[in-house]
Amino acid sequence: MIIFHYDKTLEGLLTAVFDAYNRKTFPDKLLGLNQPEPLFVEESYIVLTQEDKSARVWKGLEQTLEPNSLNMITYVWLSELPGSDELIFRYIRKAFDSKKSIETNYADDDVLQMQKLAQKVNKEKHRLIEFVRFQKAADDIFFAPVSPDHNALPLTLEHFKDRFADQKWVIYDTKRNYGFYYDMKNITEMTLDSTDLFPKGKLDENLMAEDEKLYQDLWKGYFKSMTIKERINPKLHRQHLPKRYWKYLTEKQ
């Protein structure tokens, strides 16, 4: 078994592709830098992430793949699911080695799997766009905590920047402990020292803008009134609005 160790970044993975073609040995398994190896390792190689190598691989991909498939690689990477890096590696290899484009061959396991994972992450992106709830703080910054299963927050920034162009906002991923701040011009990545600002997903009432509580109550009241009691269907409700999102939804508090 051939093992490559790399630093678990996308650049690292692309460098691994470069090195593999260079050495003409392809890994059966990709591991993190300090991850223990299984028994019976035939060869073990440590990838040193290098930007020029990863950039060359990416450029090669740009020439080989449609923009859509290229996006798919980013999406699958952001899924953070175990094995997704090995899947990307196999996909890239197939794309480079095949004379014909493989992109729409959904009878191929890896191609189909890539598409399915990318769809999962895309779903998460849409759910973020749907279910982000801003709370207005006293300093006029709109604040929204999120905790998506996949690391889809970066994919939503363009949307939120265009939509809420004239208000300052922060969207914070409490699971991965990082977020983005928009100051009506630029978006910057940020990390908070402590997450005490929002116990249980709600902004502390002392930090809220004056009318924030009012609008939260109005929204809750509206949400309650919209339900048609003759048609209540909890299963359908949970299917569309999975429980894992309820924590940060104003109307479900």
Binding site: T104, Y106, A107, F134, K136, Y215, G221, Y222, S225, M226
Partner: protein, 420 residues
Amino acid sequence: MKAEILDKLQTLAESAKYDVSCASSGTTRKNTPGGIGSTSGWGICHSFTEDGRCVSLLKIMLTNYCIYDCAYCINRRSNDLKRATFAVDELVELTIEFYRRNYIEGLFLSSGVINTPDYTMERMVRVIKELRTVHKFNGYIHMKSIPGASQQLVHEAGLYADRLSVNIEIPTEQNLKMLAPEKDHESVYKPMLYIQQGVLESTEERQKHRSAPRFAPAGQSTQMIIGATDETDKQILFTSAALYNRPSMKRVYYSGYIPVNSYDSRLPVVKQAPLVRENRLYQADWLLRFYEFKVDEIVDDKNPDLDLEIDPKLAWALRHPEHFPVDVNKADYSMILRIPGIGVKSAKLIIMSRRYARLKSVDLKKMGIVMKKAQYFITCNELAVQNVSESSPEYVRKVLTEKKLPKGAPDPNQLMLIFD
């Protein structure tokens, strides 16, 4: 102030909630400098009520006072109901503040009729005009056009709204007159025609110069109440099909009748809204819009009502076993679309993938095709089950509609031990 607004909001939401439409799709709007919001084109649901319906727009009435007395409507004037009216600026502020918190995609404004249709319509137009011009609001706006309103006001509404709609409510005029003596189909079809004209004129103008104003870019929609009167599904679907033939008509919604005014003897006595029938009508509607079906293939004189037990596509396939089995590796797209268990997405996947290699049933299963249904209707030269033309439509129907036993329940065909 606070308690009063909350009260109004709840009263007017209660009055508006029976309208089905909540779509925010069909058009895009970029953010403008100094403005708020954008419209994405694919529609975004921001929440779901406990009955499982999407909440995309702030669906609200300007007022629930009404001069009409339609039997099916909760807001009819003879109902003893809490009434309220929003001031224009109250509603505008509410929309903007909800929007800024990402609660909604925009506004769905509807209203009871006060004084005259034009009087009502004018106040509604003021709300959306203020949103668009004073606040530069780029979110989605859906406005209900009041039956009987003048062409001029409909035209003004179209300049600010993304979608306009007029509800037919009852599929045949005769029944409409029975339940709503003050209304007729003309008062509904006229504003529909105004909207259609506006859309067509604006499209033509915009081909000449791009700066010409857009008119209701997301087109129009309408709604019918199902089960309050005795129309057959054939009558309903033929009405829908005729409406879809009009250039600007995007959606027809079906609303299963909920007995809001059960005291009225003109209305049928029902215990539960006809949810299954409503669902089958939507499936039939989908067949019309996305599956290239013609309406007389779905319902005809022999089958005036949809089968409640099986979906309309399966029903069609069982009525026409002569078209099956279909070879997924050879048949064209429109035939693959007609196979039960294959949707638009999987049909496209099949078309793309079969260029590389022959597809086998394992491949189909992995692509997400519902093989439980599809296996009786396809061939890829390797299937063991008997397809519909080898067995019989009756047999396939029986297998597919058999109720699954709850987990752990004893098989009723198994003999019981008699000693205990």
